[in-house]
């Protein structure tokens, strides 16, 4: 079984990048990783410059000068926009990768040809899951390299041991989050009869956790959800939001990722309270385990006699 699983995984990984959409989304993701590094640096230096201008102005008008809001921020926080791009492009790229890993077989009409090969029942399913995991890790690894290079280039930002540990954990968490959606893409690519629907199921789930759940748990509007700072604003003190977070917290994946990444990149506002009954890390891990199971079951149950989509 391991031989067949490895073969399916390697073959899938080699083939998926020949799909132009996958290559395009991967390039876009890497471009935005670079942009996020620039944005973080730009925002910090601009706020700093504004502070200097404001301080000079306040001095000239004999007003007290408040402390510089960015003075004590961690160098890791300059990567805060990465968390937004992981939850946007990273997740969508993973959905597309997961979907294409199955779709290229179904549309190529090769599913029956694979089905009649002498391999164990789970080999195909496991091969696809391993391919997805490897691809997502590769993508996140590349993003991590770009981020590390950013730190090397900007001398004023230096990390200590704890900082490097947090950075590593941040990329690990991002890989988990992206992998989650990739697994959903894999599951729906195998399960759905129609090609459009098979893309739409994970995209709809993504839209729901990214834009609708934060609205319910914290009254955060969709555009605010895209800003790593605004997305962490405390909700109004209302029992509605308290109970919403209690109930939805365990499945509010975007919220969980947002809190974990803010904590790891050291820009979580002090005193930020999590009201979910389940910790963010547990939420992501549970969701991943569930998605792996779903993907494997969907792939096992895929009709190996035909395979191609209806529309």
């Amino acid at each position: 079984m391991f031989r067949s699983t490895g073969l399916i995984a390697r073959h899938s990984m080699a083939l998926v990048f020949r799909e132009r959409t996958v290559s395009f989304l991967t390039v876009l993701f890497m471009a935005l990783v670079l942009v996020s590094a620039y944005l973080g640096w730009s925002a910090t230096t601009t706020v700093n410059a504004i502070y200097q201008s404001a301080a000079a102005f306040l001095t000239s008008t004999h007003q007290p000068i408040p402390p510089n809001p960015v003075l004590n921020t961690s160098p890791l926080s300059l990567l805060r926009n990465m968390s937004t791009y992981v939850s946007l492009i990273g997740s969508l790229a993973s959905i597309v990768i997961g979907f294409q890993l199955v779709a290229m077989d179904r549309k190529g009409g090769v599913v029956p040809l694979i089905g009649v090969r002498p391999m164990a029942g789970n080999a195909y399913a496991l091969g696809k899951v391993f391919a997805l995991v490897a691809l997502v890790l590769g993508l996140v690894g590349a993003a991590a390299c770009v981020s590390v290079m950013t730190f090397q280039i900007l001398p004023e930002f230096r990390l200590d041991g704890t900082g490097w540990r947090h950075l590593t954990l941040f990329f690990g968490t991002s890989a988990l989050y992206m992998g989650l959606f990739g697994l959903m893409g894999l599951a729906s690519g195998a399960y759905a009869k129609s090609e459009t629907v098979s893309l739409l199921i994970p995209v709809t789930l993504w839209l729901t956790v990214t834009f609708i759940f934060p609205q319910l748990t914290s009254n955060i509007h969709p555009t605010a959800a895209l800003n790593p700072v605004k997305a962490l604003v405390d909700p109004p003190h209302s029992s509605f939001f308290t109970y919403a977070e209690l109930v939805l917290g365990p499945v509010s994946l975007a919220d969980a990722y947002k809190v974990l990444s803010a904590r790891l990149l050291e820009f979580l506002p002090p005193g930020h309270v999590i009201r979910s009954v389940v910790s963010p890390a547990t939420t992501l891990v549970m969701a991943t385990v569930f998605s792996i199971g779903l993907a494997i079951v969907s792939l096992r149950k895929m009709d190996m006699t035909k395979g191609d989509y209806d529309a």
């Binding site: 834009f211 319910l216 969709p222």
Partner: protein
């Protein structure tokens, strides 16, 4: 006016009937309705919480014999509760439009139906116009359902009746959301008709949606220094508005670039128009509709211009039946 016997009308109504039988279009429209109503209800809950907090503070102050003037009362403008609904329309409405456009093209490609249609005595252009009209009708109808239900719910949650002017403002937002969504319809329809592989067209449409709807506004928003500190950098520094303007004059080029990125996004244009008309943005609260529309005509024209350009592109290329009828 189109006659019922016109090929354009026949094709358009066929597409609408097809889509109505497709559970999938109904499901995604229902999803947008749910998202918009969720935003509306949570906004109302948040406002109710503010009101309760104010009332408690006011009662305490009065009990202590102090004036309640020290605290600002929360302002209530019902249309401002539509902010979340508008933002959900920006995001999910565009997704729905992409799907409608994609299906309008995909339903004909690869099947013999396109050959059957084009061997009838109709011109290529009539076919394309008919398809575009069908899409427009679907989007207008779907978004009308969203806005009607939202308006009804707004009256219920706010407890305030909407005036004719309020309804007029909502109607303007509906019309501009139709134009906005139609751009995405045209984009995905065009790509699905031109590109060799249909899935590539769908994914490319989604990628453009990502860049225009999410990334560009996010970059513009993130480059705004005021959004980099919780609560706003100027508020943290206790700088008054007039002084803020003086300080930001020194960052004119930076602001120009930031503004340029935001202004290039169709979504941001739609948002600015909607927020102005609905009084969501502070500076437009209580302003007469005519003066708001005059001030925001640039954003409205931008929406219309994008539609014109996409339509011109769509009709500029002839239909390659030979390629399109192959699987």
């Amino acid at each position: 006016m189109l006659k019922r016997s016109s090929p354009i009308w026949i094709i358009a109504t066929k597409d609408v009937a097809d889509a109505m039988q497709d559970r999938f279009i109904i499901v995604v429209t229902a999803f947008l309705v749910a998202a918009a109503l969720t935003a509306l209800v949570t906004g109302a809950v948040a406002l109710a919480t503010d009101v309760m907090t104010y009332n408690d503070a006011r009662t305490t102050l009065l009990a202590l014999g102090k004036s309640a003037d020290a605290i600002a009362a929360p302002e209530f403008y019902p249309l401002r509760l539509l902010r979340g609904a508008v933002e959900q329309t920006e995001i999910i409405g565009a997704v729905i439009a992409i799907l409608v456009g994609y299906r309008a093209a995909a339903s004909e490609r690869g099947r013999k139906t396109l050959a059957l249609i084009m061997t009838r005595p109709i011109q290529n252009r009539q076919f394309m116009v008919g398809k575009a009209l069908g899409g427009l009708m679907l989007l207008a109808g779907g978004l009308a359902i969203v806005f009607v239900l939202t308006a009804i719910t707004l009256q219920v949650v706010s407890g305030v009746g909407l005036t004719l002017t309020d309804l007029g403002r909502i109607a303007i937002i509906w019309a501009s959301s139709v134009v906005y969504a139609y751009s995405f319809f045209l984009l995905s329809f065009m790509l699905a008709f031109w590109l060799k592989k249909l899935p590539t067209a769908l994914l490319l449409s989604f990628s453009i949606w990502l860049l225009v709807v999410l990334v560009a506004p996010q970059i513009g928003d993130t480059l705004d220094p005021d959004n980099q500190v919780a609560g706003g950098v100027f508020k943290q520094l206790h700088i008054l508005k007039t002084d803020q303007i003086r300080i930001m004059r020194g960052y004119a080029s930076f602001e120009t670039i930031r503004e340029g990125i935001e202004a290039a996004s169709l979504t941001k244009r739609f948002e600015r128009l909607s927020f102005a008309v609905l009084g969501i943005k502070d500076t437009y609260v209580g302003k007469p509709l005519a003066s708001v529309l005059k001030e925001k005509q640039g954003d409205a024209l931008w929406l219309v211009l994008v539609v014109f350009v996409l339509q011109a592109l769509l009709f500029s290329r002839p239909i390659d039946l030979n390629r399109l009828t192959q699987e």
